[in-house]
């Protein structure tokens, strides 16, 4: 053991109470840093996973990114003539030639695609009416692009194929309207068509807005109800690599012309909120460690003040300013490292405790678990930050100790 380390350990050992308080400060700093970071990153990952898993990675909709250029503007691109009040040409809603577009998309490796025709309908049952968003789907294709099949708690998606008049609704909506599996419900579409459809499945996503506000029918049935034969107004996709969605969406949009939106684009504002949230989180938890480092500064400054006489004798004995600095830097390092190790244990304990918590939130049917992140990287960040703060806090008193002139102390003592 280096002599300077031995002296540092002796100093800390002789002031056990203050040393323990400093250690506790670092331990709590590291532990809270880890617990808060784990919660924030866990919730961020959970949030992104929900975004990625529950929503399509890419959605092609029946609209264009830029308004269509009018013929007069095309004819005279640099002309000074302004034509006002030109009404754009009326387009039939829906993606034109969606099957050809799908054929192109299906050729992109790692991409699965399904057509959807969505529109508002009204369900009527026993005098109760409820407006819902109807999604016309092809069950076989939908399984490859959505996890809705996993959320079905009664019946299954394939039932739509075997029962063309079937409809799958959310369990919360069924409860609200007193509907059960096998019940017949009246469906009214915006174009005035009324059909009786049979409940062939119930799903539960945990999100009230979806569970009470959406329904699934066969695509062909939706095309009839909305009077859009052979049309789909969305092509939804999932990718093997969700993080490639932005590039793939751009490629598809360039080829087929319709607006192609990746999940990142659709959730841009949410993702930027996550970034801001992370900055705030790291600032707050880092503040805990900064406060802890003030504790270390305080104890080492006190030791330096108390040990001025010892510093003088060490220097008279042949210790250099560097040796003296090392003693006090060792003290900061020991507190930082031991506090980090203790903080790691405490931090992982806190994370485990948080992971066992369950909450029932109003409006959500399933209990919420605390999403925690167990990654080692956050522990390393916390420990590195704690060790550096401790050494930084020790540096200034250590430097001061190194500058002590033995004669000043000896004269004062004599």
């Amino acid at each position: 053991m280096p002599l300077t380390l031995k002296i540092a350990v002796t100093h800390l050992n002789s002031r056990r109470r203050q040393t323990l308080m400093s250690l506790l400060g670092v331990m709590l700093g590291v532990a809270f840093f880890m617990a808060v970071s784990s919660l924030m990153r866990g919730s961020e990952q959970d949030f992104i996973k929900r975004l990625v898993d529950s929503a399509p990675h890419i959605t092609v909709s029946d609209e264009f990114r830029d308004a269509p250029v009018q013929p007069a503007v095309k004819r005279f691109p640099d002309g000074a003539v302004a034509i006002s009040n030109v009404k754009p040409k009326t387009e039939v809603r829906g993606i034109r030639g969606y099957k050809q577009k799908m054929a192109y998309i299906e050729h992109i490796p790692g991409v699965r695609v399904a057509p959807v025709l969505s529109g508002q309908i009204i369900l009527t049952y026993a005098g109760k009416e409820q407006g819902v968003l109807m999604n016309g789907v092809v069950p076989e294709l939908m399984a490859g692009v959505s996890d809705i099949e996993e959320k079905i708690v009664a019946g299954n998606m394939q039932a739509l194929s075997s029962s063309p008049n079937g409809v799958i609704i959310g369990r919360a909506l069924a409860k609200k309207m007193n509907l059960e599996m096998g019940d017949n419900v009246t469906v009214s579409s915006p174009v005035g068509l009324v059909r009786t459809m049979k409940i062939v499945g119930l799903f539960e996503t945990g999100a009230t807005a979806i569970d009470e506000g959406q329904a699934y029918v066969l695509l062909k049935r939706a095309q009839v109800l909305l009077d859009r034969p052979d049309r789909a107004n969305m092509l939804v996709m999932q990718l093997d690599d969700p993080y490639a969605s932005r590039e793939v969406a751009a490629r598809i949009e360039k080829h087929i012309g319709y607006r192609s939106r990746s999940w990142q684009e659709a959730s841009e504002s949410l993702l930027s909120v996550l970034l801001v949230r992370n900055i705030i989180m790291y600032s707050v938890v880092s503040a805990i460690l900064v406060v802890a480092s003030f504790g270390i500064y305080n104890i080492i400054s006190t030791v330096v003040m108390e040990k001025r006489r010892d510093i003088a004798i060490l220097k008279s004995m042949g210790f250099t300013a560097r040796d003296v600095r090392h003693i006090f830097l060792w003290e900061g390092t020991i507190i930082g490292l031991m506090g980090s190790v203790g903080g790691l244990t405490l931090g992982y304990g806190l994370i485990w405790a948080l992971s066992t918590l369950r909450f029932q939130v109003p409006g959500v049917s399933v209990p919420i678990e605390m999403p925690v992140y167990w990654g080692l990287d956050q522990a390393l960040i916390a420990c590195a930050f704690a060790a550096l703060s401790a050494m930084g806090a020790a540096y200034f008193p250590a430097r001061k100790a190194g500058l002590v002139h033995p004669v000043d102390i000896l004269r004062g003592q004599a």
């Binding site: 220097k315 250099t320 033995p406 000896l410 004599a414």
Partner: protein, 235 residues
């Protein structure tokens, strides 16, 4: 070596130490002296006369404003702080009025400290040497004690053992008996005297105590920072 066979270990020429500030103070004025191996030199003088300041300069704890100092034939006033620290470690041993032992360490650890710092001997030999030094000074049964468990005289003996740890050329003592009762003072004086006369060590000691000064071979009197007299002890 001089013509009379004496081996010079320390020489100061025209050493002056001034403190700058609003009111400049001259601690030591134009001091010149030579110390030979095996001498027991007492520096005496009234309080504030500059005796301790001269000792700190000769012990390389302070640097002169002007003048030059040679230790063991090497001029030390031009060396770096690191080199001077090394010389203090290897060639000088200090004993102060207040024992200045490290209170958290045992007696044995305190004596081993300079040897550990120097790193010439393996730990086992450091321990053996420290034990032998302490035994010579009558402290063999106090090795595991801490300084606050010892009397003032015992602490000063430990400080002397520590000063001897690296077998220095010179032992510099600043009022080594100034804080002791007469019995302990006599004991410390006898130890230092024996170091010189039996072991051929060199001792340079600042003292107020005429009894202590009489144990030395040579007395230097300082008045107002100047060496007023420097001569052999009057018998």
């Amino acid at each position: 070596m001089s013509s009379d066979g004496a081996v010079e270990v320390l020489r100061a020429e025209h050493v002056t130490r001034e403190l700058t500030g609003e009111v400049p103070v001259t601690l030591v004025k134009n001091a010149s002296l030579t110390i030979n191996r095996g001498e027991f030199v007492s520096i005496m003088g009234p309080s504030g006369s500059g005796k301790s300041s001269l000792l700190y300069l000769l012990g390389l704890l302070d640097m002169p404003t002007s003048g030059r100092i040679w230790l063991d034939g090497e001029e030390v006033t031009t060396l770096t702080e690191r080199q001077i620290a090394r010389i203090r470690l290897e060639k000088l041993g200090f004993v102060f009025q207040f024992h200045f032992l490290l209170v958290e360490f045992t007696v044995l650890d305190n004596v081993m400290l300079p040897m550990t710092k120097l790193g010439r001997l393996p730990e086992k030999q450091q321990r053996e040497r420290a034990e032998a030094l302490l035994a010579d000074l009558g402290m063999a049964d106090q090795l595991r004690k801490r300084p606050d468990q010892l009397s003032g005289g015992q602490r000063q003996r430990v400080a002397i053992a520590r000063a001897l740890a690296n077998d220095p050329l010179i032992i510099l003592a600043d009022e080594p008996t100034g804080n002791l009762d007469s019995k302990s003072s006599a004991n410390v004086r006898d130890i230092l005297s024996e170091l010189v006369h039996v072991r051929n060590k060199t001792v340079l000691a600042v003292t107020h105590d005429p009894e202590f000064a009489r144990a030395g071979d040579r007395q230097i009197h300082i008045v107002d920072g100047r060496i007023a007299t420097d001569g052999m002890r009057p018998d």
